[in-house]
Every structure is written in structure tokens, then in C-alpha cells.
């Protein structure tokens, strides 16, 4: 009897789930590329969204392979296969607009996440304002050196939207400390090895003069730390800051060698997915991710907003262990 009950119950579940499968919403995610840690955390967070886990929606993640054309072709695929909504992280602010236009023409809502696209056809955008993080990181460096002395800036690839905005933020903070001199300012293309070489050479050409290092991402700040160590100098004599909160940087913050600002990939991903489902269901949906409770400053607001700004979290000695635990 008991066995029969179980058999019946499982049959009902099977039937129900197959019936649901036909109704299942198909959501596509198009991140610019999956080679680096940040986008991996981002796409892993999508898979952990309650709506994906309970089988309510069917999620497909496309690897854009850092190529605007590849992303455009993936949009065409999603349009042909009649996806219900698309989450878009464009590699290029301009080239992405064509893809958004095509999806819009096919009646598919597109929700932006993490990086911007120059289009007013997005249903919504969930990201973090890079000028804010640029300001915050420069401020921690300037505070530590007491608003006087010399700093260097290690920039992202010139012309990328994050580089432009973070530099804008850096400069805003620097303007508040007119006595601070920027000795050098160069790109290391987000790369740790390139930043290490750059810093080694700067330590040579400005011996004993550099007080602070503003790295526009964590990787480059970490490269600068290695150069300082290799030169036999004391890392504690420098104020060093990065952005993103990658795992190596969290460990460095724990050691006290740098500061970092966490860009919450999880909130950007899960927030965008909630909005994608909301727009696919034309408003008949309540958000399921816990990120809305986590950030009271960013209310879901019945999906009405066009822009959702995920706040930055400074990584501190107090919260670093908790953040590291979340990575495991």
C-alpha cells in the first residue's frame, strides 16, 4: 500500500513536471566571456537562483568569448529559438546596441547586467556604478596617506567603460586632495603580470617617492604588491587599493596589505534574473532572490525602475572572513 502511494505520488510529480516543462519560461544569459573569476561567480549565481533551482524556468548561459560579434550571433540564436527573456552583459558599450534592437524587434525583453550598453531599449539594468567605486578606492588611499604625498594610478584598458568611469571616480577623489601628486598613470590591461612590471619600473624611476597605489582592479593592485615585495620594500609603507573583491584580494585584505571594494556579482546576476522573469511574465511575478532583502537601499519597487544600482561593499577586516566563506 505504502509502495503504491509512493509510486502514485512520483507519477504525479513526473506528470506535473512534464506538463510544467511545456510552460517553462526560457531565459538566456549572454555574459561577455567566462574566462575570469568575476563572470564565473556571476553565472554560478544565476544557476543558484530559486527560480532555476525549483525548475520554474529553464536557463541557458552563452559564453560571449569576449567578442561583440559572437554575442550578436548568440542573440540571433535566442531569437530564433523564441527565448522569453535575455540577460545581457555586453563586451562593448556600442556594439551591444544592435543585438538589443534585434531582440526588442522580436518582442523579447532584454535586461542588462554588470556592464552598460548604449541603448534605451533595455527593460531594466542591474549593475554597480563604477564612478562610485573609483571614488571610494581612491579615497581609502588618500585617507591612509593623509591627503598628501605621491600616488600612481594603474588603469584598465583605455576606453573600456569600467576604466573610464573608475578613472572619473579616482579623479573626483584626487581633486579633494590638491596636495597629492599623481606621479604616473598607465594601463596594465587588468593584468597582474603587466602591473607587476609597471610597478617595478616605477619604483626604479621614483625611488622612495611613491606613497599610494590606486589599482583600478584587484589583479593590478596585487601585481603592484608583488613588485613592492620583490624590491625588498615594506608593503605596509604603501597605501594600496583595488576593486572587485576577487578571492586573492580578499586574502590580501585579510593580511592587511591592501583594501578592496566588493562588486557583488551575485546580486547583479540574481537581480537581473528576477527582472527578466518579471518582464517575461509581463509583471505577474514576485522576486524570489534574497538579494532584495540584503540591499534595502535597492528596492525591487514592483519592477517599475529602469535602473537598479547594486551598492558596493568595502572589504574590511571585519567582513572578510564571511566573504571568503561564501566563496567556498
Amino acid at each position: 500500500m505504502k509502495k503504491l502511494m509512493i509510486a502514485l505520488a512520483s507519477a504525479t510529480v513526473l506528470l506535473a513536471s512534464s506538463a510544467m516543462a511545456q510552460e517553462k519560461l526560457k531565459i538566456g544569459a549572454a555574459p561577455y566571456g567566462l574566462n575570469a573569476e568575476f563572470m564565473q561567480i556571476w553565472s554560478a549565481a544565476l544557476e543558484e537562483h530559486p527560480a532555476v533551482k525549483n525548475g520554474e524556468i529553464e536557463l541557458t548561459v552563452f559564453d560571449g568569448r569576449y567578442d561583440a560579434l559572437v554575442q550578436q550571433e548568440q542573440f540571433n540564436t535566442m531569437i530564433t529559438q523564441k527565448f522569453n527573456a535575455i540577460i545581457f552583459v555586453p563586451i562593448d558599450i556600442e556594439a551591444g546596441a544592435t543585438a538589443v534592437q534585434a531582440a526588442h524587434d522580436a518582442g523579447i525583453p532584454v535586461v542588462g547586467s554588470n556592464t552598460r550598453v548604449n541603448s534605451d531599449l533595455l527593460a531594466a539594468y542591474v549593475g554597480s556604478d563604477d564612478t562610485v567605486s573609483g571614488y571610494m578606492e581612491a579615497k581609502t588611499v588618500l585617507d591612509k596617506i593623509g591627503c598628501k604625498g605621491n600616488v600612481v594610478i594603474i588603469e584598465g584598458p583605455i576606453g573600456q567603460s569600467a576604466q573610464i568611469s573608475r578613472l572619473e571616480g579616482n579623479q573626483k577623489a584626487l581633486a579633494e586632495c590638491p596636495d597629492v601628486k599623481v606621479l604616473e598613470q598607465q594601463t596594465a590591461n587588468w593584468s597582474r603580470a603587466e602591473a607587476q612590471t609597471l610597478m617595478e619600473n616605477w619604483l626604479t624611476s621614483h625611488p622612495g617617492e611613491i606613497n599610494g597605489v590606486i589599482g583600478q582592479n584587484d589583479e593590478m593592485a596585487l601585481g603592484a604588491i608583488e613588485a613592492i615585495k620583490a624590491a625588498g620594500l615594506n608593503v605596509g609603507d604603501f597605501a594600496i587599493a583595488g576593486i572587485d573583491g576577487v578571492t586573492d584580494a580578499l586574502n590580501a585584505v585579510k593580511e592587511g596589505t591592501m583594501t578592496s571594494i566588493l562588486q557583488d556579482a551575485r546580486a547583479q546576476a540574481q537581480g537581473a534574473l528576477d527582472l527578466a522573469i518579471f518582464h517575461a511574465k509581463q509583471g505577474d511575478y514576485k522576486p524570489q532572490s534574497d538579494i532584495w532583502a540584503q540591499y534595502p537601499d535597492m528596492p525591487f519597487n514592483d519592477g517599475k525602475d529602469k535602473e537598479y544600482n547594486v551598492p558596493w561593499t568595502p572589504v574590511t577586516a571585519e567582513n572578510v572572513d564571511k566573504l571568503l566563506d561564501m566563496r567556498k
Binding site: 567566462l34 574566462n35 575570469a36 573569476e37 564565473q40 583605455i158 604616473e184 598607465q186 594601463t187 593584468s191 597582474r192 603580470a193 607587476q196 612590471t197 609597471l198 617595478e200 619600473n201 616605477w202 626604479t204 624611476s205 625611488p207 589583479e219 596585487l222 601585481g223 608583488e226 615585495k229 620583490a230 624590491a231 576577487v246 578571492t247 586573492d248 586574502n251 567556498k328
Partner: protein
């Protein structure tokens, strides 16, 4: 037969050697000129600390370029070195990390284990490429292009796309330590250079490499195992890529999946600037070392002077083309 062969090969070497000396001399003069200009224009350039920096910054490209020299001497090319750097760096790092999630079971192991693993990964990639090139007559460009893509993919699969952090201090010593004040990467570059110089100039295998590159048909007719030599040069390049990958991760403190992207281009540039002919059979590892030093000195000097890195790329491009133009002119002259 054997005396006849020796005679022809020695006269062949003689005329070439003269040309080579001119070439090497020319590139050496160019190097001295560059050093002279930079010493005058920047007060920090010729300081011991900076010289050590330049050598350190040249070490990885130097090791790769020396391996590339073996391959190019046989008329081949190895486009896979950057990806093999990343793969060998990541796999070896997983044996010496203290991170619970990124390491293999039982890590951290002693440094020698990681060193052996890293070299083996490089040798494995090189052997696969060498096998495909020598047995199936697939052009080296295609076979190594395939490995460029495959090894990068394997790196991402192996590490799950994440870096391998927290490498043991013992392992990091090969990137950050020093012997008698000389940084370890520089010591390793010097060792690789000396052994390669000895192999190419003092051993039979070295002469065979020149013979295969100079005229593969003649080499085959005179009884050389051409495919075996072709196979071995890729194994050498792979092994050195493995070594370079470990120096890189030991220097940066963490093995990154994006490591080594486009490193093959700098390695080929050093070989070409150093006077080795892409049509094979002509060239020297000494020239390659100077070629790598020229690239290193130029990047360092422009950084010291605060010149945007974009200009460095333009200058490097001009240097590569200029070196080959000079080379062609001199060849026509001889």
C-alpha cells in the same frame, strides 16, 4: 661518405658563420646603442637595481624565445607557448597551493614535485604537437594553432576558470628568490641559455637541427632521422614553456587562467630580432637572447620615461620589421 658529409657541412657552415657573425654583431650594436640612449636620457636606467629588473622582466620571454629558436631553426613555428605557459603554470601550482579548494589531494607537495609536473605538462603538449607535425606532416602553424586553443581550454577546465592562489614559499622561491644576489628567474634563463648554446653549437644533435632547417631533403638523403629531430624541437619548446609557466606563477604568486596570452608573439619577435631566419637553418641562440633583451630594455626604458605603453607596441612592431629588412638586405649583399 662520412668524411665527405663532414666536409660539405663544414664549408656550408663557414660561409654561413661569416654571415651570422655580421648579423649578430649588428644586433649587438643595436642593443648597445639602445642601452646608450637610455642611459643618457634616464638617470635610473643603468643602476644595479634596474639592470636586475630588466633581466627579471626578460627572463620569461627569454626562456620561451630560446625554445622557439630550436623550432624556427627547423623551419617550424610554435604558436602554443602562451597557452602551455598557462596550463603548466596552473597544473603545477595545484600541487603547491595551500588553498583547500584549488589544490590536488594532499597538496602542498614539495617544490620538486610541482617542477616535475610542470615540465611534464610542457613536454606532453610539445610531444603531441611534435608527433602531429612530424608523423602526419601537418604544418607547424596549424598544429600549434590547435594546441594554442586546446591548451587554453584545458587550463580553464582544469582550474574551473579560477586562479590557483597561495603557492608555497618554497615554490615561489623560483620566481622571487635569488642566488648570490642574482634573481632566480635570471639564473634559470642563464642556465637555459648556456645549455641551449652548447647543444646548438657543440653537439651533433645541434648540427642536425641546422641541417634539417637548411635543407630537409638533403638532410633526409644523407640519412638523418628528420622526423625525430622535428619531434624533439617541439618537445624542447614545450618543456621550456612549462618552465616559463612556473616562473610566471611563482613571480605573481598565483596561477591565473588568463596568464601568458599573446606570449608567443613576443617570443617570435625576440627570435626574429635576434637574426634567426623564419625560413630555417640560419640563426643563433645568442641572437635570440639579445633580441629578448632588446624588447625588455625597450619596455623598461619607456616605462621609466613615463611613455604610454601603446607607443611601446608601435616601436616593437617597427623593430621587428626593421630587423628583418636589414637581414634581407644583408643576405642579398652576401
Amino acid at each position: 661518405m662520412s668524411s665527405l658529409e663532414n666536409k660539405t657541412s663544414s664549408t656550408w657552415l663557414n660561409s654561413d658563420r661569416r654571415r651570422l657573425i655580421v648579423q649578430e654583431y649588428g644586433i649587438f650594436l643595436a642593443f648597445l646603442l639602445l642601452v646608450g640612449i637610455l642611459s643618457v636620457s634616464n638617470q635610473f636606467f643603468l643602476t644595479p637595481g634596474n639592470i636586475s629588473n630588466v633581466l627579471l622582466q626578460t627572463s620569461i620571454n627569454g626562456v620561451l624565445a630560446i625554445g622557439m629558436t630550436f623550432v624556427i631553426l627547423t623551419r617550424g613555428i610554435d604558436l602554443s607557448v602562451g597557452s602551455v605557459v598557462a596550463l603548466a603554470g596552473m597544473v603545477s601550482a595545484s600541487f603547491v597551493t595551500s588553498s583547500a579548494t584549488a589544490g590536488v589531494a594532499g597538496a602542498p607537495y614539495p617544490m620538486v614535485v610541482a617542477l616535475a609536473v610542470g615540465i611534464l605538462v610542457g613536454v606532453g603538449c610539445g610531444a603531441l604537437v611534435g608527433f602531429i607535425v612530424s608523423r602526419f606532416s601537418v604544418p607547424a602553424f596549424v598544429a600549434t594553432l590547435g594546441m594554442l586553443s586546446a591548451a587554453r581550454g584545458a587550463t580553464l577546465i582544469y582550474g574551473g576558470g579560477k586562479p590557483v592562489p597561495a603557492l608555497s614559499p618554497e615554490f615561489r622561491w623560483i620566481g622571487t628568490g635569488s642566488i648570490l644576489g642574482i634573481p632566480m628567474p635570471v639564473v634559470l634563463l642563464a642556465a637555459v641559455f648556456l645549455v641551449s648554446w652548447w647543444v646548438l653549437t657543440r653537439t651533433r644533435f645541434g648540427r642536425y637541427i641546422y641541417a634539417v632547417g637548411g635543407n630537409p631533403h638533403a638532410a633526409k638523403t644523407s640519412g638523418l632521422n628528420v622526423s625525430r629531430i622535428r619531434f624533439l624541437v617541439y618537445v624542447i619548446s614545450g618543456a621550456l614553456s612549462g618552465l616559463a609557466g612556473m616562473i610566471l606563477s611563482a613571480r605573481t604568486g598565483s596561477a591565473l587562467p588568463q596568464a601568458g596570452i599573446a606570449y608567443e608573439l613576443d617570443a617570435i619577435a625576440a627570435v626574429v630580432i635576434g637574426g634567426t631566419s623564419l625560413s630555417g637553418g640560419v640563426g643563433r641562440v645568442t641572437g635570440t637572447l639579445i633580441g629578448a633583451l632588446i624588447i625588455g630594455v625597450m619596455n623598461n626604458g619607456l616605462d621609466l620615461m613615463g611613455i604610454q605603453s601603446y607607443y611601446q607596441q608601435v616601436l616593437k612592431g617597427a623593430l621587428i620589421v626593421g630587423a628583418v629588412m636589414l637581414d634581407q638586405k644583408r643576405n642579398q649583399g652576401v
